[in-house]
Symmetry: C2
Subunit: 345 residues, 2 copies
DNA sequence: GCTGCGTGTTTAATCGTTTAAACAAAAGTA
DNA sequence: TACTTTTGTTTAAACGATTAAACACGCAGC
């Protein structure tokens, strides 16, 4: 159906064996091959516009130069940005990336992992959904190189690249406290995923450390499906709590988007009536009428590390490398102290 | 490195030939094979947790069940959404998708196409950058099934799925005119890409049809690299033109984002002082303080059609199918008539 | 009892590479 | 001259599947 010129064709035209062509084109045994034949073979290859059949090559060498990347949802800007960085990074090292979206569904995740394995990816970079420990463990048993991304399971020894979500949450809350807010709420996911627990716990701990009692209604948990209605309900619950909140931390960019959409339509002023901070940057945060303070993950670094860990694992199976990077707080108008607002503007 | 159980292993354990195992597992010659052996083979396959090596299978059958998708930038929400739809659609048909971002660079595009071909994708869905006609034509000569997405070259007969950009621009301008604006500007790309020309021409034609003279400064062209500074300059130029504009149409979501960021920081009220419309939806448009009217592409339909055209081309090489879909205008607050604004709010 | 047919299974070639090992001829060494 | 080494190239077996064709066997028909 496609390119049909093979090693044999070149060999025939050059009057040599296919093996020799393979040697030349791969620069093997370079000392032995005569310069003249080498040149001739290269010329003919160029002439016939030869390009190697990766399938055959991979079948023989058991190496596809392909890595699989599974994120929750490739259409989420956070995932898409990370995917792009990983794609570029992999490409620099001559690797092709194949993507998949798990939709936070462990069944779908498992299925994706297996189609990738059937296609013999050399390794996997994974953002595993909840309840996918078994899949990860079985990959480990099969000695398949993996790196977990953005998430990890404390009970499983694997390579991973994550951020310190606990500290990030703490920092966000401290910042809010420092601007005079004390009635701080959070909307995050009702999930057992470790990184989400840490976001939640960081919030709780920061308040406790500062002697603020966390009212039950201040912590709103929503499903990881990001249902708009559910998130709106959570916002309303926060606002109508007694005492109502004067600041809120959103556990993800999706939660932030849905919440801000509602807030935009209410007669509620940010940051006067309500300060907001959210996890992860998206462009929309800068476009909100009061640009939103956010917790910035070092995406470049995360992507680069994930690829480099995976590749070094490929060379040297068994190596386990982990990184917990620090997120940074990017302060914008949405958390300005009300009294500083006018001079700031 | 990975799964090591092959047809032979099953054959050995079952005491039959590998061929028979292949027949059973692929449900070929179903009438001939004895029910007993078939069952035995299936049992053993399950027991050994066999899964077929796609590389070997593809090498033999010359079919990878993989499609390649190249967009401008997978981290752009528009591309990411489309990619996700295509991924899902392909998966329904048992196809895996591999992605790539061309960054609007014909060289990179060509390179991506070739790495995908070396990996023997069955076909390609492409959003070609400017000056990539040669690549497309060479694919056609090699009879490689392709479908162009979002873009097309009028001189080349290929399958494609696009929207009617000319009509979409016209509709946007007509809408603005109908709300009483007459000094309508546009910021779009300085590109020879047909779909972008059509966006530009639709704008010009709509104004001309309504007897509005298009001032030269009303049409601002920027580079397709989406340079923030350049886009900001364009916005300023529109505003400081004489006469200055009272409405503007943005040629893409990137242009809109960059422009709105600036507008957000100016003391300019949307829609009173300036009405805005943009091409393509992103969530950020709903989060702008005055939710932005936009031209909505039917992404689902585009993605589904692209995949279905490609797959039918795979079955029946040579078929050319094209679709020009209609975009719809989603009217939000950013284009409300100033006099209707208060009752609307 | 021979022919022919249907059934269940195997043989063997093939896809396009890689690569260890074999080989033949030329060059070095003693 | 005879023997080893070096040099340039070929042979042939794999990788893990698919698939046309061959095969062996039991059974019906005449």
């Amino acid at each position: 159906m496609q390119k049909r010129v093979s090693l044999k064709d070149i060999a025939a035209k050059a009057g040599v064996s296919a093996a020799l062509v393979s040697y030349v084109l791969n620069n093997r045994l370079p000392s032995r091959i005569s310069v003249a034949t080498a040149q001739k073979i290269r010329d003919i290859a160029g002439q016939l516009n030869y390009s190697t059949n990766q399938l055959a090559k991979s079948l023989k060498t058991n190496k596809t130069n392909t890595i699989g990347l599974i994120v929750a949802d490739i259409s989420n800007p956070f995932s898409a940005n990370l995917a792009r960085i990983i794609e570029d990074e992999a490409e620099k090292c001559q690797y092709t990336t194949i993507f998949g979206s798990s939709d936070e569904d462990p069944g779908k995740f498992d299925k994706l992992v297996h189609t990738m394995l059937n296609r013999k990816v050399d390794g996997l970079i994974l953002s595993p959904p909840a309840k996918s420990e078994a899949v990860i463990e079985s990959l480990q048993q099969k000695d398949i190189p993996i790196v977990l991304l953005d998430r990890y399971f404390p009970g499983i020894k694997t390579s991973y690249v994550i951020i310190d979500n606990f500290a990030a949450s703490m920092e966000a809350v401290h910042h809010l406290l420092s601007t005079g807010r004390t009635r701080i709420g959070m909307i995050t996911y009702d999930s057992e995923l470790q990184h989400l627990l840490e976001r939640k716990n960081g919030y709780i701990r920061a308040l406790e450390n500062n002697g603020v009692r966390v009212e039950k209604e201040w912590l709103q948990l929503v499903g990881i499906e990001n249902n708009q209605q559910q998130i709106e309900d959570a916002v309303r619950a926060l606002l109508s709590a007694t005492p109502g909140v004067d600041a809120v931390l959103f556990g993800s960019n999706k939660i932030a988007t849905s919440s801000l959409k509602l807030i935009n339509s209410l007669s509620l002023r940010v940051p006067c009536d309500l300060a907001v901070i959210c996890f992860d940057h998206t462009e929309m945060l800068d476009l909100f009428y009061s640009p939103v303070t956010y917790i910035k993950q070092p995406l470049e670094e995360i992507g680069e590390l994930a690829v480099s860990y995976l590749l070094s694992n490929l060379l040297h199976n068994g190596t386990i490398s982990t990184s917990q990077l620090k997120a940074s707080l990017v302060i914008q108008q949405s958390t300005t102290r009300p009294d500083e607002l006018y001079q700031a503007k």
